[in-house]
Amino acid sequence: MTARYSCKRGILVGGTCELALTLAGLLIRRDITPVLTYRNERGLRTIQETLAPPEDRYETRRLDFSDRNSLATLFDPDDPSFDFMVDFVQGDYEALLAAADDAAVASFFAENISFRAALLKRMARSMLRSRRGRLVYISSAAAENPAFGQGFYAASKLASEALYRTIGLEMGEKGLTTVILRPGYCDAGRGRSFLEKSGDSLKRIPIGRALMAQEIAEAVLFLLSDGAVGINGTVITMDGGLASGKGAMR
């Protein structure tokens, strides 16, 4: 069976990461236009170098979670609203809670939670115009099972998940739905560098390997399909089965 897609154009927030770029490729192949966000010129170049021409099959926008002004330019009232948003953005701050820097914690939460709430508010209002919108948040299996030092990361992921769940709850009757995907160990981005340092982690995953970026992108693609709308305001864990047991080494 082939999934149906009525969406035509959507935004990939944090569009420079490997997962977003992989998803963008899948969308373009289905004639769905991804709008990828980048924080700086280097990010823009990454998008341009990764996605094959012609460039008119995708769009780019600058969005920086540490710059409130960048939100204003994302929503041109004359532009049609986005049909969907996939949110890949996640800042990095690792510290033991009892050793953390107060100012760093405050700015980490401001960027990863408060800014996200502001983005969601504007996105929901924009999508409300067309009474249609699908919002997918890429969380992490670490939200539920953080490692040492990942407490702030997990806190921001759980808070962000709650924001997305809220939109699904409050706006479902107006055509806006949300879903949260929690990937586990992934052979892409920060996950790849982690796995390079601690390859033994893979032995605890029932499927015996890390997930590939392609697999996660394909799961997100399904979540954007018309048939997945009923998966609303909820969390899906995609971790190869890691969280199903005690995580003992095989």
């Binding site: 009232p77 209002r125 924009s126 409300l128 115009r129 409050e170 706006m171 009757e173 107006k174």
Partner: protein, 124 residues
């Protein structure tokens, strides 16, 4: 299309109501049963259709109780105090709301129309 007709059109699109019964005197919450999610959608639609900036707290008079309290605490006459802070409503309308027991439910379609006109540059 004038402002009232356009507002009426928006409301009938958002809520399951008969547009023919909507006048400037119709109460959005008391008569039409608008809920918070409807008001949110209404604010978005009004902003988009009229091309005006809509502040939800302003258009739905949410700060009315706060201003009323401020006037009491300052020991001043609430009518001029509120008239100054809610510039899109005429004093007689503010006096009418002050006399209401349930002010939150007193919001009328005419209040929305006045807000839009004010934002379009037509002053009271």
């Amino acid at each position: 299309m004038d402002v009232l007709n356009k507002v009426r059109e928006i409301i009938t699109e958002i809520m399951d109501v008969d547009g023919g019964t909507i006048t400037e005197e119709t109460c959005l919450i008391r008569d039409l049963g608008a809920e918070s999610i409807d008001l949110l959608e209404l604010a978005v639609a009004v902003s988009h259709r009229f091309g005006v900036l809509v502040q939800d707290d302003e258009i739905f008079l949410r700060k009315f109780p706060l201003y009323r309290l401020e006037a009491t605490q300052a020991g001043v006459d609430p009518l001029p105090y509120l008239t100054e802070r809610i510039p899109f409503l005429p004093p007689n309308r503010i006096a009418e709301i002050l006399a209401e027991r349930d002010r939150a439910a007193a919001l009328k379609i005419g209040d929305l129309v006045r807000y839009v006109r004010y934002q379009q540059g037509e002053h009271v």
